[in-house]
Amino acid sequence: MGASSVPSHLRAPGRSPSRGGTQSRTIARGAGVVAFLGLVLLGVPALRNAYWELVLLTSAIYTIVALSLALLLGRVGMISLGQVALLAIGGWIALRLGFATSMPFLLVVLATGLITSVLGTLIGLPALRLSGLHLALITLMFAAAITLLLEATQFPNGGSGFLGHSVLTTAPSTLRRPGFASSDAAYYRLVVVVTALMFLLTIVHIRSRPGRAWAAIRQSEAAALAAGVNVTLYKLWALALASFMTGVAGGLLAASGGGLTVYQFPTQNSIILLAVTLMGGIVSLWGPVVAGLLFEALPALLRMWGLPSDLLTILFGIGVLQVQLTAAAGLASQVPKDLANLVRLASTLIRGRTGHQEHLG
């Protein structure tokens, strides 16, 4: 069959009549992303509110963790309740690398991501044959085991060397920041940039060979195998990528100020992170941003209003129920649709009233 045998409607994929609409949507989306990045990069530090800067910095870090969870769950169909434990491992590795070496900060974060990636993949190996509830249980057990281990080893412990141990309660637990981002505002900007890079890394994957393989695996492993996809390899790839991003987040958290403590990584945080990731949405890339804000900024708001933080458990429970029942794509997809419907309804009402008045006039 030669090129001439292909009918005209098939010759140029991507040049269908709807192409113009798709292009303008892409431009609008790009403009939205740039505006959002501009707002968080420049607008937040301009407020000069150290408390909210720290809250939003931590939100950005948890956005990366939610992104890794959304990648596993939404793109590959693998559930993980161990991401917060991996985050703790990332934090620990970054601190130990910081104590033991004089590597520049960015190299420490990169190395942390790579080491966590290897560890996360190794931990995920036995889970490859599991799915659904069984995989959720195994990863939850892993998270619980890590919490116990952190307590037993007095995490993060500031002894010298990579495996050094200190009995001092005042041992350091913070990673030194790079010179160019030593102030809170500069470090906040650095974290936002790294978060954006993690999104870019995810987008590159989703739009290329692994993304297509993951889409096939998520829908039907049998169909993926029949298409020649090495399912084990691509699942491991997803685990490695998700663990890398979580490790990077751990590295960023280690230098976020105040130091790391074992109390930051309780097992239930893995479940809450899953809840907010589901609420934000696991398919839309805005979902993890919403999840990061729900995870860190919402509790801060409650504290500011003097409301008990236990309220969150109820709120998230209701939120997950609502999302699963009425907006399976999550808030990131549903809210813009609801707003568009609201605008349409309002404009219809206004037009109706104007028409009625003209009729009366």
Binding site: P7, H9, P13, G14, A215, Q219, S220, A222, A226, G228
Partner: protein, 238 residues
């Protein structure tokens, strides 16, 4: 050519395929039988989803059972499923392209070969269309396009007419006949629509309760009294 020798599959106490020896010489071959006869299980053995208790499968001289399942697609074995499994989250183009890229198709020829496969199955939608937005007919055709893209050597079609109206039979039979003619692939067609089997297959084999009960030219097989009895419990003509 596919040569199956003494193939037996056991699931606990059930034996869905029991000592079947069968040859598919080339072209389009029919594989029919009542529900539970072992047709899909045979496809699953060929695809590598089910390991047989005993027997051998030689495909164009290669030992198919010795290959890992995902490698079989790269070797040239393709299949569709009884319940279609086109990937909803991907566009029509990406659905077909992903098979091309995972089966060793050359990147420089990808666009051309993907479009040719879409044309072969007669899909008249934009390649950019998301599969999740398509109807049953189009999704079935996307799945078949996935099976014929690149250089397939064996194409297993599992009830391609299921869920489609009778008017589709003519289009399907025309399209299925084009696969061996234009791609040189051996097609094995599992189907309950006998008019489609008659229109496409020169040779047909019949399974019943895991046993081969007839094999030969399609018209003769469909007149075979064992086959009629297996299908209808009577000797009425199919």
């Amino acid at each position: 050519m596919i040569e199956i020798s003494n193939l037996t599959v056991r699931f606990g106490g059930v034996t869905p395929i029991d000592g079947v020896s069968l040859t598919f010489p080339g072209g389009t071959c029919g594989l029919i039988g009542p529900n539970g006869a072992g047709k899909t299980t045979l496809f699953n053995v060929l695809s590598g989803f089910v390991s047989p208790a005993s027997g051998s499968v030689l495909a164009f001289g290669d030992d198919l059972l010795a290959m890992p399942h995902y490698r079989r697609a790269r070797w040239g074995l393709r299949r569709t499923f009884q319940t279609e499994r086109a990937i909803e989250a991907l566009s029509v183009f990406d659905n077909v392209a992903m098979v091309h890229e995972h089966t060793g198709g050359r990147r420089s020829r990808r666009r051309q070969e993907v479009l040719e496969a879409i044309e072969l199955v007669g899909l008249e939608v934009s390649p950019d269309e998301l599969v999740g937005t398509l109807g049953t007919r189009e999704r079935r055709l996307v799945e078949i396009a996935r099976a014929v893209v690149g250089e397939p050597r064996v194409v297993l079609l599992d009830e391609p007419a299921a869920g489609l109206p009778e008017e589709e039979t003519e289009h399907l039979s025309h399209m299925i006949r084009r696969i061996p003619e234009e791609r040189g692939a051996l097609v094995i067609l599992v189907e309950h629509d006998m008019s489609l089997v008659s229109a496409c297959c020169e040779l047909t084999s019949v399974l019943d309760f895991g046993h081969l009960i007839a094999s030969g030219p399609t018209p003769e097989v469909l007149r075979n009294e064992h086959v009629r009895r297996a299908y209808l419990g009577t000797e009425e003509e199919l």
